[in-house]
Symmetry: C2
Subunit: 207 residues, 2 copies
């Protein structure tokens, strides 16, 4: 991990014209609804979608160690859109010539340093369907560790500063609730929902 010498700080927030935007843009949708009425909708869209037809992949993961409890590896990074540190599973955009499966293994290696075994890949999901057309798939991977394996080096791109945190699965939900209480931290909704679903299944009184 590169040297962290200071807290990140936002210096300026300016209107960005769609002509000047490189990564995202706005579109207006003219559509006809179910009743035959013409309507419009505003959408934010990424400019980077490749052949996979999917913007991004998130990598749910289980770390298995001979003498430690089964855990999951989370990444914490400063996210300028929120001016906060987000807690997420490793994730990244799928390159133009990649499959979601290839991107999952590549991004996991880059952000965590670990080689992983792909266990499953989810269907396409819409990231935030009222506001954007962004979509994603979720991989689930396993990492089998040896008793005394050292923590591997990350392979971060220029500008990436990603902290790794290993959380026992048994503490997953509680740890996310704790992170949410910390100043300048926010848990990503997809990660929180997964852990919330686990917690719900383990504690609910309905079924």
């Amino acid at each position: 991990m590169s040297q962290k010498t200071q807290e990140p700080v936002v210096n300026k927030l300016t209107e960005l014209s769609t002509q000047d935007a490189k990564w995202i843009t706005l579109k207006k949708i003219d559509y006809t609804d179910q009743t035959g009425k013409d309507r419009t909708w505003e959408v934010a869209t990424r400019k980077t979608r490749g052949k996979a037809g999917v913007d991004a992949v998130a990598i749910g993961n289980v770390l298995l160690h001979p003498s430690k409890p089964p855990s999951t590896l989370l990444v914490i990074q400063y996210r300028p859109p929120l001016d906060a540190y987000t807690v997420e599973w490793p994730a990244g955009l799928i390159d133009a010539d990649e499959t979601a499966e290839q991107a999952a293994v590549r991004e996991f290696k880059e952000e965590t340093g670990y080689d992983c075994k792909l266990v499953s890949m989810s269907p396409i999901q819409s990231a935030d369907p009222g506001m954007s057309d962004a979509n994603m798939k979720m991989a689930m991977v396993e990492v089998q560790l040896g008793e005394n394996d050292p923590e591997p080096e990350q392979r971060l791109e220029d500008g990436e500063h990603i902290e790794r945190v290993v959380v026992p699965l048994a503490e997953f939900y509680d740890r996310l609730v704790e992170y949410s209480k910390k100043d300048r931290f926010i848990v990503a909704a997809k990660l929180f929902h997964f852990a919330h679903g686990m917690h719900f299944a383990q504690t609910q009184k309905y079924m």
Copy 2:
């Protein structure tokens, strides 16, 4: 539910300038990173955030019936950004003068017709932290039904066409996987992650 007479259709997709956008816009963030280097980031942002400081609330829910299995109510609606029907929990933007709790009860009544009891409210979560500053909270609510209660009327706004589907909790994950296979259907990531988390907790072999 209003009369559905035809499949919705997108007629035109045009560049939308930030001046003309009413609901969302783009911003450029100039920031200084952890190493002291000046960088920029592009972000999509909503123009509608009110006093709650939170854009939206999603409403996880359990329907309890004397003689039917515990279930959850999902909503299916055409989402122009995806030109597809999304499967989601009821959700909506928080009005300028509302709390997240008030918005949850109001939106649930509007979209489903049911009065509900608020069980819990999550911390703030970031909806899609690489692309936008959109954030949300997740309410969990209960609805206690009588044996022969009729399905209540929805109170939809003009232009809203929302279909309700009741899914037994025991079939939650499998039904979402099925929806994902249907033509022109996509499951929202937050909903899928919650159900995936439940499924993971119920089927995993790690713990």
